[in-house]
Symmetry: C2
Subunit: 320 residues, 2 copies
């Protein structure tokens, strides 16, 4: 379905309830809030269905639009935003998957599960599609619409740094900023602020990072005991392997984290010279070319030996 | 002078040599390289005068345009880019300040020192002005022009995060990306890559950071001996105080660095609630509202006591 067709479909509806994906991020919540604000500006009844996993960081953007109940009222039409598959709806909403009238999404893997599907894989964020949709609906861009859409676009592109960023992304950002929104607090909260525990984990990782192959390979290890001692939650180790690849000269950066006495989690980031998924496949894992992972059996010492062996095999060297 | 007038001036010239500022950054070098590429596309002789302080990170962007000699040839017309004052030229070029035909700059403090001045303080980067200038000159945007201009605009806006970023900034970025330039390596080099020494300094700072006032005030200390032991150069501590302000809950973040046995350097970052320059004024320093500094006499122990006393005075509390 095209943007124009989706806009025509929405224009004919009166009561629209929006679904976001589980463990919601800035794109799903920002897209939902922006679309909801736009539909309300057209005089429609529109709400975002409450998502049980919304974190405090994102809550303020969705709060003005959240419905009181998880049950959409009689006659409401369901629209999902940034939901790549029915299984990615929060568990409580999965029974509704068959009743979704429109799915708006940018994930190429979206199986077109809804009755109507506006799926545009070339867009960096679903927020970019909502922007076009509201334009096609003739909704004037207000700050209430622009701020959540900026949240959607900026978070899904790493604030315009990821390779998914296009000229269109910047054109959307230009139109959003032209409304006069203030992005300063958003930038700090989303891209700069770190918990004390997170910083302690980073410091620990830097201190125990081991380098091989003249500094081209870096491996940092975090034991379960260390993480507990620092009071680090799951959030505090999220994406921590990115740090290993930031180090000058590192082409393969990896972090091995002890999840329990019997299993460790390996996370690998590579430069364009190496393929993270091929390295991780040697340990039964997988992922993308630049970012991949594997579950490695054993506690830290056992798992570390397996990882170093996989590095040797992948690099074709006898000694690291 | 307007963009149109500056374009007319440049259109009438044949041989143009460009001046950049001392300790050159991405904006001065990217602007110079982009302008030089554009002038060459018009068939003109154009060079960037060699700047003795270009660091390896920036060199590749300027390299294709650097003149062989620091002495511009007979008949060459001098144009300075992003040079806010004659005193900011590299020392060897200061005698030429009176002969600059055109100064293109975005610093509001620019004293209009050249014969003609295109100074636009509303622009986030001088690169944005060069973009408009080349458009007015009718130069088609090529990748050779777009990449250095993207360097200029992205570095001067913290990759679109600083508050100087405008809708125009994003419109320029959109036009630059539309040429098909690949910004991935640039993003990594400019915004992500860190030296091992830098990371060690960050880890040390995180480990010894002290918190006061329920975590709203953070002070990290780096002794000269510690920095020497880590092999940290001046570059490795550049802007390190930003880290203290990134910590969740911190409103006043400060780093005290021992420069020698008799003097320490304080660097303070504040949230919008507090004024860094007023705090630093209590120690004889100054700066901006959100970022300021002071030189504090004494080695670490003496200086630290003075800083804590200044904190107490500024906050109006007896105990921190």
């Amino acid at each position: 379905m095209t943007i124009r067709e989706a806009a025509r479909l929405l224009a004919g509806l009166d009561c629209i309830y929006l679904l976001t994906h589980q463990r919601p991020d800035g794109d799903t919540l920002g897209s939902a809030a922006g679309l909801c604000a736009g539909l309300r500006a057209l005089g429609k009844t529109a709400f975002v269905l409450p998502n049980p996993d919304i974190t405090p960081r994102y809550r303020p953007y969705a709060a003005p639009y959240l419905a009181d109940s998880q049950a959409p009222p009689e006659g409401a039409v369901l629209v999902s935003v940034d939901v790549a598959a029915p299984t990615l709806l929060p568990p409580g909403y999965r029974p509704l998957a068959g009743e979704v009238t429109l799915s708006v999404d940018h994930h190429p893997t979206n199986p077109r599960f809804a009755r109507n599907n506006l799926v545009m894989p070339g867009r960096a964020a679903t927020g970019e599609i909502i922007f076009s949709l509201l334009r096609a609906l003739g909704v004037p861009l207000s700050r209430d619409i622009a701020l959540p859409l900026y949240l959607a676009v900026s978070t899904d592109t790493g604030c315009f740094r990821y390779t998914n960023t296009t000229a269109f992304t910047h054109r959307v950002a230009a139109a959003l900023l032209a409304t006069g929104i203030d992005c300063d607090a958003l930038h700090t909260e989303m891209f700069e602020s770190k918990s004390r525990a997170r910083l302690k984990v980073e410091a620990l990782l830097i201190d125990n990072m081991a380098f091989y192959q003249n500094g081209a390979v870096a491996l940092g290890c975090l034991t379960a005991a260390e993480l507990t001692a620092l009071g680090a939650a799951e959030d505090d180790v999220d994406n921590i392997s990115a740090l290993s690849r930031q180090i000058e000269g590192v082409e393969i950066g990896a972090v091995l984290r002890e999840v329990s006495a019997s299993v460790c989690k390996l996370s690998v980031r590579t430069s364009t010279k190496w393929e993270a998924n091929r390295l991780c496949a040697l340990l039964g894992g997988g992922g993308h070319e630049r970012a991949a992972g594997a579950k490695v059996p054993g506690g830290m010492e056992t798992a570390k030996q397996a990882v170093l062996q996989a590095f040797k095999t992948y690099l074709g060297v006898d000694e690291l």
